[in-house]
Amino acid sequence: MTTIEADPTVPIIRITRDFQATPEQLLRAHTDPELFARWVGPDSTRTRVDHWDARTGGSFRFVSVIDDGVEFGFRGCFHEIRPDRIVQTFTFEGDPDGVALETLWIEDLGGGRCRLRVQSLVDSFEGRDAWLKSGMETGVEQGYAKLDRMLADGAV
């Protein structure tokens, strides 16, 4: 279950999610480019990693390819990578001035489970506005797809 919170006083989005994985595995899923490309993009897109140097002071660039060949580039810097933390910047190349500062914390819950907390700070409420809105179309689409599956499975 993903929980999300938009802070009312600062332009921050916070996300929390638990995983059936060790902290080491969850970190690797974020730092190994092949693993990362398998989960990051929306269902409808394919992810191509152009550049990837996942260590403190490194940087990355990846491209989301939509079915019809349209590409969206994203890039940023890995400011800090530690076993329990990633600090990075994140930019959509269509809006290069809007840079998010992201901190990911990985907390060991024991028993092969861990908790991921992600905090994204953008430079303005307008920036966060645009950020949230960018997910709207896809969110609706995939929400309906899920509903379709539930209907097909007789779960509804």
Binding site: T2, R17, R38, E126, D129, L132, K133, G139
Partner: protein, 132 residues
């Protein structure tokens, strides 16, 4: 729902005074004078803030004689919740893909550990570069 409405809601709530007004109206309706009381600003300035909130659909003023009471319109906040919920759903979709990746990583680990066991004892067993 129009994205412009949502932009107006977010822009309206970007101001601390307006957020405070919304917080107080969530507790109870109030007249403009009551709303203005705790702030170090003119009633005129409070009216200005109210106009922004009104245009975003966050508050409305009851029709009728003065002093008209200002009330919160819950629909606008519901709209924001809905918006956030869609973003949340997208994040959840992403993490369900990550769940599947992590599941294959666990399987890979287990099979490598098994083959490590098989190699044990052999002086020239194959080298596993991923697990030095």
């Amino acid at each position: 729902m129009s994205p412009d409405t949502l932009s107006r809601v977010f822009a309206a709530l970007a101001d601390p005074t307006r957020r405070d007004i919304v917080d107080r109206l969530a507790a109870d309706e109030a007249t403009v004078n009551q709303l203005a009381e705790p702030y170090r600003m003119s009633v005129q300035a409070v009216y200005k803030h109210l106009r922004v909130l009104e245009e975003a659909g966050l508050v409305s003023r009851a029709p009728g004689p003065q002093p008209r009471r200002v009330r919160l319109r819950a629909e606008a906040l519901d709209l924001m919740d809905e918006w956030l919920e869609r973003y949340r759903r997208r994040a959840e979709e992403r993490y369900q893909r990550l769940d599947r990746v992590l599941a294959t990583m666990r399987q890979t680990n287990e099979s490598e550990e098994n083959s490590d066991d098989d190699d044990r004892g052999g002086p020239d067993g194959p080298h596993h570069p991923h697990h030095p």
